[in-house]
C-alpha cells in the first residue's frame, strides 16, 4: 500500500517535470506541441550515451541532458515553431509536431537502434532505503521525489517571484497587452520554450531508469503529458503538479489493483475532465 503510493508519487513528480514545459507552451503560446516527448527522449539518450559510453557520473549527466534538450528547443523554436504561432490552426500545429515526432523517432532508431536502453545507476541510487521500520522504498524513487520536488519548488518561485516570471504570466494572460506594456514577448516565448524543453530533457534523463527508453518514447508517453495539461490547466505550477501527482498515483494504483482495465480509466478521466472542465480541474479559471 505504502509502496504503491510511494511509487505513484515518484512517477507523478517525474511526470510533472516531463510535462510542465508542455503546459507552459500551451498556456503561453497557445501551441499544441505533441513533440514535447521528443525533447525528453533526447535528454534520455544524452544520458545513456554519456553514462554508458563515456562513464560520466549520473548526476553530471542530468544538467547535460537538460542543456542538450534546451538547446534543441531554442534552435527549433527560432527556426520552425515560431512561424506557426500566428495563422496556424491547432490542427496545423498538431500535424507539424507529429511530423517532428516521426523524424525524431526515425533518427533515434537510426542512430541508437530500436532496443530498450539500460542505464547503470551509481551505487547510492540502487537498492532499498528503510524509511521507517517495515517500510522500505526504492532509493532511486526517493531520489526522484526529492529532485523533481525541488525542481517544482524552484519553478514555482521563479514564476511567482522573479521579473521574468511576472512577464511570463502577463504573456500567458494576454500576449497583446503584454506587448503593449513593452514586454518583449518573442524573447519570453523563446526562453520559455527553451526552459520547457530543458525540463523535458531533464525528465527524460531521470526517467530512463523507471520508464525505459526506446525510439517510441515520444508517442508512448504523449498521452500522459496531454492528460497532465488537460487536467492541470496551464499557466501555473501547482495545477500541473497536482494533476501529475493524481495521475501518477492513479496509474500506479491502477496497474497494481486493477491490471485488467489497463489505461482505460485514465483515458476516461481525461475525456470527462475535458468535457466538464475545459480549463482543467486545477486551472486558473477554477482557482479564481
Amino acid at each position: 500500500m505504502v509502496t504503491v503510493l510511494f511509487d505513484g508519487i515518484a512517477w507523478g513528480t517525474l511526470l510533472f517535470v516531463l510535462a510542465v514545459g508542455l503546459s507552459v507552451t500551451l498556456g503561453l503560446m497557445n501551441f499544441v506541441n505533441l513533440a514535447h516527448g521528443a525533447f525528453a527522449m533526447l535528454g534520455g539518450y544524452v544520458t545513456v550515451v554519456m553514462l554508458n559510453r563515456f562513464g560520466v557520473p549520473f548526476l553530471l549527466c542530468l544538467p547535460a541532458a537538460a542543456l542538450a534538450a534546451g538547446a534543441a528547443g531554442v534552435i527549433l523554436e527560432r527556426t520552425l515553431y515560431r512561424r506557426l504561432y500566428e495563422g496556424a490552426s491547432h490542427l496545423d500545429q498538431v500535424l507539424f509536431s507529429i511530423g517532428l515526432v516521426f523524424m525524431a523517432m526515425a533518427l533515434a532508431d537510426f542512430i541508437m537502434g530500436s532496443q530498450q536502453q539500460i542505464v547503470h545507476m551509481p551505487a547510492f541510487l540502487r537498492g532499498q532505503v528503510r524509511l521507517m521500520p517495515g517500510v522500505e522504498v526504492g532509493a532511486y524513487r526517493l531520489f526522484l521525489i526529492a529532485s523533481c520536488g525541488a525542481t517544482a519548488l524552484v519553478l514555482h518561485f521563479a514564476l511567482v517571484r522573479t521579473r521574468f516570471g511576472s512577464r511570463l504570466r502577463a504573456g500567458v494572460d494576454n500576449a497583446r497587452t503584454a506587448r503593449g506594456l513593452g514586454i518583449d514577448v518573442e524573447r519570453v516565448f523563446a526562453l520559455t520554450f527553451a526552459a520547457g524543453s530543458a525540463l523535458a530533457g531533464l525528465g527524460g534523463a531521470l526517467g530512463v531508469e523507471i520508464l525505459g527508453l526506446d525510439p517510441t518514447f515520444p508517442v508512448k508517453y504523449m498521452v500522459f503529458f496531454l492528460i497532465v495539461v488537460a487536467v492541470g490547466g496551464s499557466g501555473t505550477v501547482t495545477g500541473p503538479l497536482l494533476a501529475s501527482l493524481v495521475l501518477g498515483v492513479c496509474d500506479a494504483a491502477g496497474k497494481y489493483y486493477l491490471p485488467q482495465t489497463g489505461a482505460f480509466i485514465i483515458y476516461a478521466v481525461m475525456v470527462a475532465v475535458l468535457i466538464l472542465k475545459p480549463q482543467g480541474l486545477f486551472g486558473r479559471a477554477a482557482a479564481r
Binding site: 490542427l91 507539424f96 496531454l226 476516461a268 475535458l274
Partner: protein, 330 residues
C-alpha cells in the same frame, strides 16, 4: 462585371454539381490499375480502403470543420464488427459492411455529443481520448478480439454468393473499389446537397449559422454519425479482404495516418482524400521497402513541409499553380 441575369445565375448554380471530364478520367485509373499492376492488387485494395477512410474524415473535417485525432476508433470498430461476424458464422460480406456501418455510426452518434462544444484543442484531445479508450478495450478483451495477436479465423463468404475471395486479391480489389465508388457517389451527392452546403457554412461561420436558424448542433451530430459509418465500412472492408483484424486497425497510428493522408491530398474536395491515400500508401510502399526508418523520417519531414508551405495539400498546390498560370477556377 456585367449584371447577371437570373437565367445565367440559375445555370451557373446548376453547373456546380455537374460531373467534370477530369472526374470520369480519375475513375478510369482503378480500372487501368487492374491491368497494369496485376501483381499489386492487395496493395491497391488497401489504397482503395484507406481512400474510403480518408473520405470519411473529409466529410467531417473538410466539410464540417470538426477536427479529430481519433477517427481510427470508427475504422477499428467496423473492422472488428465485420471480423467477428465472419469468425462466428456470418461471413456474408455486404451485410457485414452494413452491420459495421450501423455499429460505427451508432458509436459516432453517441460520441458526437462529446465534441459538440469546445475548441479545436478540446476536440482533438477528446477524440484522441475516446479512440485510446476503445483501443485499450480491444487490447484487454483478448477473449473476443484476440488482443495484440489480432483476430484470426475470419471466414468471408463469396461476394453476392458469386465471387470467392482469391489468393491474388482480384475479388478483394474489385470489391473494395466497387464499394469505394458507390460510397463516393453518395458522398458526392451529399456534399453538393443543401445539407452539404450547410455543413460548409457551419465550418466557415458557426455563429452566423445559428443566427440563420440552422440547428447547428444537430447537423454536426448528423455528419459525425455519417462520417463514423463511412469509417466503419472502410474498416470492415479491410477486415473482409484480409480476413484478419489487427489491433493496429484501431490504434492511434491509424488515426494519425488518415489525418495525414487527407491533409496531404487536400481537405474539403473528396478527391483530395483519394489522392492523399494514394500518395501516402505509394510512398510508404516504396520507402519502407528500403528501410522502415526511412519512411518514418520522410513522412515526418513531409508533414513539416506541408504545414510550413502547403496547407492546402497537393490539390492546394495544384490550385496555386493553376492560378499562377492564369487558369482561374471556373
Amino acid at each position: 462585371m456585367q449584371p447577371l441575369g437570373y437565367q445565367t445565375l440559375r445555370e451557373h448554380m446548376r453547373a456546380r454539381s455537374a460531373w467534370k471530364p477530369a472526374e470520369y478520367l480519375i475513375w478510369l485509373i482503378p480500372i487501368a490499375a487492374w491491368f497494369v499492376l496485376p501483381t499489386h492488387l492487395s496493395l491497391l485494395s488497401q489504397i482503395a480502403i484507406m481512400g474510403l477512410f480518408a473520405l470519411s474524415l473529409d466529410l467531417l473535417l473538410g466539410y464540417a470543420g470538426i477536427v479529430s485525432l481519433g477517427h481510427g476508433a470508427f475504422f477499428g470498430l467496423g473492422a472488428y464488427v465485420a471480423g467477428l461476424l465472419g469468425k462466428y458464422g456470418w461471413g456474408e460480406p455486404l451485410s457485414g459492411l452494413a452491420a459495421a456501418a450501423l455499429v460505427a455510426g451508432a458509436f459516432g452518434y453517441v460520441s458526437s455529443f462529446l465534441v459538440l462544444r469546445g475548441t479545436d484543442l478540446t476536440r482533438l484531445m477528446v477524440t484522441l481520448g475516446i479512440a485510446l479508450m476503445l483501443s485499450e478495450v480491444a487490447n484487454k478483451m483478448h477473449w473476443l478480439t484476440g488482443g495484440a495477436d489480432g483476430l484470426q479465423g475470419v471466414a468471408i463468404w463469396p461476394v453476392l454468393g458469386l465471387w470467392r475471395f482469391d489468393l491474388y486479391g482480384r475479388v478483394g480489389y474489385a470489391y473494395a473499389v466497387a464499394v469505394l465508388f458507390v460510397l463516393f457517389l453518395l458522398a458526392r451527392r451529399i456534399v453538393h446537397s443543401p445539407f452539404g452546403q450547410s455543413l460548409r457554412a457551419i465550418k466557415q461561420n458557426e455563429r452566423r449559422m445559428h443566427a440563420l436558424g440552422a440547428p447547428v448542433m444537430r447537423r454536426i451530430v448528423a455528419v459525425c454519425t455519417l462520417s463514423a459509418a463511412y469509417a466503419g465500412v472502410a474498416g470492415a472492408l479491410l477486415a473482409q479482404t484480409t480476413q484478419f483484424v489487427s489491433l493496429e486497425s484501431i490504434g492511434f497510428g491509424k488515426s494519425a495516418d488518415v489525418l495525414i493522408m487527407l491533409v496531404l491530398g487536400g481537405t474539403g474536395r473528396l478527391y483530395g482524400a483519394l489522392l492523399g491515400a494514394l500518395a501516402f500508401m505509394a510512398m510508404r510502399h516504396v520507402l519502407s521497402g528500403m528501410t522502415p526508418q526511412y519512411w518514418e523520417f520522410w513522412l515526418g519531414a513531409m508533414l513539416v513541409l506541408l504545414v510550413m508551405f502547403a496547407r492546402g495539400g497537393i490539390f492546394g498546390l495544384i490550385d496555386v499553380l493553376r492560378a499562377r498560370l492564369g487558369w482561374a477556377r471556373a
